[in-house]
């Protein structure tokens, strides 16, 4: 450095040059890493959110006919599901799912599956009956007494939809359609209500009871409360139904699940990513704690196995899984980022943007 010693002005020039280069690097380098572009964490449906509370209020209606004492507005779908001592209620927010990024990916898949000739799909056959499953259906729910579908069925052609069934008026706004079974005997009975709800039930008694609950003539049970109606898919599975779903042969955790869990409530959100929150409750806190630990360990081991086998996608998905311990229940949380879904379904057609039109 003797040259610089003799000419100290060169140090100043060097300083200015270095500051200038630094500014240039900063100007050229700023982009994706600039502040405010971090990917948000997947949304997990842990409680009723304001938009869902508004949606819930909009769905509540007063029972028609003479006002019974202490009548309160209620959601017809949840009333239809609320069979006394019911063990299952699962609701799919079909319209919300259809408009979610996941729904758009699936619709792209469906469109692609038609093939290049654009032939008619099963959906087109239903559309010919006056019901567009992608536009007219709001919710699809599964309960102990069958399936409930809500939406706008004002254009439905019942005579074609339930060919051979003679409609019977019931209650204030209800109709019953008794469908013949394949062997010619009595089959399922469809209860239609007010052009906005269909309930497919195993028999006439169940269909009548469904309409009675909707119109307030029968007390409704509490399988799924209004404030539990959040997420895009939500529900409760209890007692024997849970045992029927989880058989002893369903892996090493089936036994502990059957011993400890008495009820599972779950909520799935597909607003952008797909997030799942399940709450497992039971009578024995110790067994629940052990089950939570075993489940957490199983998820961790599965992630380790996936990573060891080079299945990085699967390992990354399992990173989002966790068990949240509590005193009388524990929560299970999982998430699938939108980008993963997009990659998995990419072969089906061109996916939409992450906003998904929502």
């Amino acid at each position: 450095m003797p040259g610089l010693r003799r000419r100290p002005g060169l140090w100043l020039l060097a300083a200015l040059f270095l500051f200038g280069i630094g500014a240039l690097v900063a100007a050229r380098g700023c982009g994706a890493s600039e502040e405010g572009v971090r990917r948000p964490a997947p949304a997990l449906p842990r409680h009723l959110r304001p938009a869902e509370a508004r949606r819930m209020e909009q769905r509540q209606v007063l029972p028609p006919g003479p006002m019974p004492e202490r009548a309160r507005p209620r959601d017809p779908v949840l009333s239809a599901l609320a069979v006394p001592d019911a063990g299952t209620a699962v609701v799919f927010e079909a319209n919300a799912l259809r408009n979610s990024p996941l729904g758009q990916l699936l619709i792209a898949c469906l469109d692609a599956s038609r093939g290049p000739d654009g032939g008619a799909s099963a959906l087109d056959s239903i559309r010919e009956l006056g019901v567009d499953p992608l536009e007219d259906v709001d919710r699809v729910a599964i309960g102990d007494d069958g399936v409930v579908v809500s939406g706008n069925f004002s254009r439905a052609r019942w005579d074609q939809l339930f060919a051979g069934a003679i409609p019977t008026a019931y209650g204030t706004r209800g109709q019953l359609f008794a469908l013949p079974s394949a062997d010619g005997g009595s089959g399922p009975v469809v209860a239609a209500w007010s052009g906005q709800l269909l309930a497919v039930t195993p028999g006439e008694a169940a269909a009548r009871a469904t309409l009675d609950r909707i119109e307030g003539r029968l007390p409704a049970g509490q399988v799924l409360r209004d404030d539990q109606a959040y997420g895009d898919v939500y529900g409760v599975v209890k007692g024997e139904r849970l045992a029927a779903l989880v058989g002893p042969g369903d892996g090493p955790l089936a036994g502990p699940v059957l011993d400890a869990a008495k009820s599972v409530e779950f909520h799935l959100d597909a607003t952008r990513d797909v997030g799942l929150v399940a709450s497992v409750s039971g009578d024995d806190p110790e067994r629940l704690t052990d089950l939570g630990k075993a489940l957490g360990g199983a998820l961790s081991a599965a992630r380790a196995r996936a990573a060891a086998a080079g299945r990085t996608d699967e390992a990354q998905l399992l990173e989002f899984a966790r068990v949240v311990p509590g005193r009388e229940s524990f929560g299970l949380e999982m998430a699938v980022p939108y980008e993963v879904l997009q990659a998995r379904l990419a072969h089906c057609g061109r996916p939409p943007g992450p906003d998904g039109g929502r």
Partner: protein, 277 residues
């Protein structure tokens, strides 16, 4: 080589100071506290239960390495900003002491060039910063690694990034001390540079809130020269958590810091060469 001798002298001087002894003691006590007070139950690689000094913490059950990420993120931010704050105070008088009457004449009488004196001082402080950050990070990784079986080197890299951030600020402090031999002023300049680095890391958001004019122009220019230290801190936290970091972006951030440090050092040497002692 003479630069390293100067750096080694500075490290020896630091080792005798209460500030650094206190830091080493505090870090050691913290790590020993974790060794004795932290009980972790691991089931199939998942962190199933946590007890800190006998008190049960209700933490989610998840893979141990995933569960430890928030710990490493917190440690990374603490190392970055806490270490920076400590360094601003503890290292602010190294350069003024070097330039103090009597000592500087003695040093200049030695076969050491002026730029080597400054570079050695900078290097010595850098060594102190790296040593402190790595001591804490290695200790944390080793303790948690033994307790959970989840081993990671990411927090060590995050600690090195924190050292890069501190070196950037210290280069400015050193330059300030050469212009005005004052430890408080040197610390104040360090604080100002840290604040500027935080603003530079958020310049896009801040510029969007400013109306056109000379103030905005000056702010844009200043925050373009200043390395975005807050983004470096965020990136270090991402690295500590094992999150995917784009190497080119990390390289840009580190380059900005290195270029700024080199520029500040060159400015300091320019002023140092002009002064008579």
């Amino acid at each position: 080589m003479r630069t390293w001798h100067v750096a080694a002298d500075l490290v020896r001087e630091a080792a005798a100071r209460r500030w650094f002894l206190g830091l080493a003691l505090a870090l050691t006590l913290l790590l020993l506290g974790l060794v004795g007070g932290l009980r972790l139950e691991v089931v199939d690689g998942a962190l199933a239960a946590t007890r800190l000094f006998g008190r049960s913490l209700f933490t989610p059950i998840r893979p141990a390495d995933v569960a430890l990420r928030p710990v490493f993120v917190a440690a990374s931010y603490l190392t970055f900003y806490g270490g920076m704050a400590f360094g601003l105070l503890a290292c602010s008088d190294f350069a003024p002491a070097l330039l103090s009457p009597g000592r500087i004449e003695q040093l200049l009488a030695l076969p050491v060039r002026r730029w080597e004196l400054l570079a050695g001082t900078f290097l010595g402080v850098l060594v102190l910063g790296v040593a402190g950050a790595l001591y804490g990070a290695v200790g944390l990784v080793v303790i948690l690694g033994f307790k959970t079986g989840a081993w990671t080197w990411h927090p060590l890299l995050a600690a090195l990034l924190a050292s890069v951030g501190f070196a950037t600020v210290y280069a400015g402090m050193l330059a300030a001390a050469v212009f005005v031999r004052s430890a408080p002023l040197s610390a104040a300049v360090g604080g100002l540079l840290l604040l500027s680095g935080i603003l530079a890391g958020n310049r896009r958001v801040l510029l969007a809130t400013m109306s056109e004019g000379a103030g905005r122009w000056l702010f844009a220019g200043w925050t373009r020269i200043m390395p975005p230290l807050s983004r470096l801190a965020d990136t270090a936290a991402d690295v500590a958590a094992g999150a995917a970091v784009v190497p080119a972006e990390l390289g840009t951030l580190v380059s900005e810091c290195v270029l700024f440090s080199a520029g500040a050092l060159a400015l300091a040497v320019w002023r140092f060469e002009q002064r008579d002692f």
